[in-house]
Symmetry: C2
Subunit: 435 residues, 2 copies
């Protein structure tokens, strides 16, 4: 390409919002991407990379000339750069860090230590901090100087001589305040901060409830380490919601647009194979009742009805329990009272559905005993299945086991088994009335 | 209470963050609440009400003395006040509006007209607007005056003489800019706005992707009507995620902490009763194959296995499709290519699970024909059920029908029926090999 075309590309491309730049960049093939690397400065490319789909960005970084890539990483927000480096292999990371400017490399190295999904891993170190002894005017001057670099300037965090976090002032309040006042006198001492090891889900909840635009992150001595901004938290919320959702559906990870059928199948197969074996187990339980089945083949007709009801009521209870756990609502009540409540709910739904099905079968099949059998089974099943749906995730949560194991399909299958045991158990016991 | 105690209550209560005030307020009984109404000014109470659980707030507003309630509503953000008024009955709303200050009442009346879940219904009218002909200094002065009232001051929207939106400048850029420059010269003309009828889910997606803290809302002539701030969007994201989640689980609405078993049961029963009838339909289909069942009772053993696999693969496909629809990823591909992809995924998972189950049954039950029958059924079922899971919500979405109808339990039951038809159909056809 001649120079003129480069200029035109730059003019048009840089006029766009970085998110749109990123979407366009993602769609280019390798050849074009390599051209773009030569057209854009590392700083301009950094903005593109910050907005590129997270699953693609490590590919892009790896294909760049290392010196260029290191500069791009340097120019990105520290938190975004760290996220990317976490995805690369250790040798690659080490080589990037040696090329980078020392100060930036140090900052990144420190952030790389924090555990995934904690405050430390999502915070940025580019924030504006002011001394409590500054005047409002001095603070404004300081702010003007720092503004271009900082991730947000709308909250200014105030530290004392020991570098401990002592207050916060919003830019709004700073602008309204008189110029000669000390920050000490105009700041709010009611500053909410989170420890560096705090779980990102808890932070998201806090930001949503308190309507913060940013939250300071501190170590155990109350030293200010970084800040978390609302745009990062929106991504966390999306991620956590998708996570809960996938678990309920029994997929290991939500699939993206444009994935091949093969990779979709790979994500769904683990659960399907587990279910296959669980299903075989269910089958062998029914097999034990073959004698009962041989006598009254009609019993088989209601298996899907009963198993289906059990599976669904379990999923309902599971969904409520999981959502309450993840929005933090469940902490206030004891396990026992939650389970008791679910059992009661199951009793109500079970009684109503049980009576309904008894009447339907009694009239439709003109067999009151069969009706009572199915009705009783539905009632018992709904009580047990509803309770189990809430019980399993709660217990796992309290035992600090990842409730992922208690995902939708697992509960459904567990309840299938319970319901079939109840149904055939009752049928075998009341066999005399059925034949 | 004597005056001293009131002062102490006020001092302690008002020191807290409004969110914490709200949580404490919610827990008080009626008597105490009535006392608090007399202790706090309407303005102070407005802050509490903005943070109270949305389902409780209309109760509180209704129990206040009308004149006090009207003042509280007046002092709340217009968008929050409108949300509450939308929940009350029309006479109540009209009476509040007549007591309110005329200007505020007019603003609220206008907002009440916008449809739920659109930009108009979540926007606020308290924003800072500046003229393009102002200087930076004048704009700052204007800002200082408006700041206490505005919902956000971090983006300033610029209008021309016709009051049309022509640009935006962030407070960050305004602070850095030279005082004598015209706004016209320092603002960004690349202002992204949304039409007043835009769906809130689309707006949330935009804010998340573009990392905006606020978005201007315009009418079709590009007049600035209001702004939407990121804290409202976080609530929208939470709401939409809960919505998708509940649909997948088959509950009409997620239950809150502290709900009675009765109200939980009421929310879950509709789906359970629908499923009961769908289950009876499934039962009657199996009933048609009673002859087949009578001959080979062993067939019944695998009903839950096959129906379970069908239900789960359908839920997986449904979850992917629904999430892609609601994150806007599905727009780029044609229906046909999505369905084709799902069918392929089903073919892969179906073939693998089918072969697996054939082998297991052939060895376990020492019956190769039964193994082949179940294996073929699983394979056919997984292909059809996977495709159906994606097909149903996609078609509903394109037909502009609310995909709520295609929620988890519905797809599961539909796939139960499909799988049973396939299984017994094949069994009846190959009966000679089975007996």
């Amino acid at each position: 390409l001649v120079n003129e075309q480069i200029d035109q590309f730059r003019a048009e491309f840089l006029e766009m919002h970085p998110y749109d730049q990123a979407k366009i960049f993602e769609e280019q093939d390798e050849e074009i991407r390599f051209l773009i690397y030569t057209y854009l400065s590392p700083e301009e490319m950094a903005e593109v990379m910050e907005n590129v789909d997270f699953e693609l960005v490590s590919t892009f970084i790896t294909e760049m000339v290392p010196a260029y890539a290191a500069k791009v990483l340097e120019d990105m927000s520290t938190d975004d750069a760290v996220d990317i480096l976490n995805e690369l292999d250790k040798n690659k990371v080490a080589s990037f860090l040696t090329i980078m400017e020392k100060e930036e490399a140090e900052e990144i190295k420190e952030l790389l230590h924090y555990e995934e999904k904690t405050a430390g891993s999502i915070m940025t170190t580019e924030f504006v901090v002011i001394q409590e002894t500054m005047t409002v005017k001095e603070a404004m001057r300081h702010l003007r100087k720092e503004a271009p670099e900082a991730e947000t300037i709308y909250y200014l965090y105030v530290i004392d001589v020991d570098k401990k976090l002592v207050g916060v002032i919003s830019l709004r309040d700073l602008i309204i305040a008189e110029g000669d006042f000390l920050i000490l006198d105009v700041m709010s001492e009611r500053v909410v901060s989170v420890p560096v090891g705090e779980d990102q889900e808890d932070i998201a909840r806090m930001m949503r409830d308190y309507d913060f635009l940013a939250l300071p992150v501190v170590d155990f001595q109350n030293h200010l380490l970084g800040i978390i901004t609302v745009d990062d938290i929106m991504d966390v919320m999306e991620e956590e919601a998708n996570d809960d959702y996938s678990k309920l559906a029994g997929i290991s990870e939500l699939e993206k647009e444009g994935e091949t059928a093969f990779s979709s199948a790979k994500k769904r197969l683990p659960w399907l194979v587990i279910l296959l074996f669980l299903g075989m187990f269910t089958a062998s339980i029914i097999g034990r009742f073959e004698e009962t089945l041989d006598k009254v083949a009609l019993l088989a007709v209601f298996i899907p009805l009963i198993a289906g009801m059990a599976g669904n009521t379990g999923t309902q209870a599971l969904a409520v329990a999981v959502r309450n756990i993840s929005t933090g609502d469940s902490g206030k009540r004891s396990n026992f009272s939650i389970i008791k409540q679910e059992a009661k709910t199951g009793l109500i739904t079970g009684t109503i559905c049980g009576i309904l099905i008894t009447l339907i079968i009694a009239f439709w099949y003109e067999d009151i005993y069969l009706g009572i059998l199915v009705g009783l089974s539905i009632m018992a099943t709904l009580i047990v299945a509803t309770t189990a749906g809430a019980f399993v995730p709660l217990i796992m949560h309290r035992l600090k086991i990842d409730p992922a194991v208690a995902s939708g399909p697992f509960i459904t299958t567990l309840n299938d088994i319970i319901s079939i045991l109840i149904y055939f158990g009752l049928a075998t016991a009341f066999m005399n009335f059925l034949i």
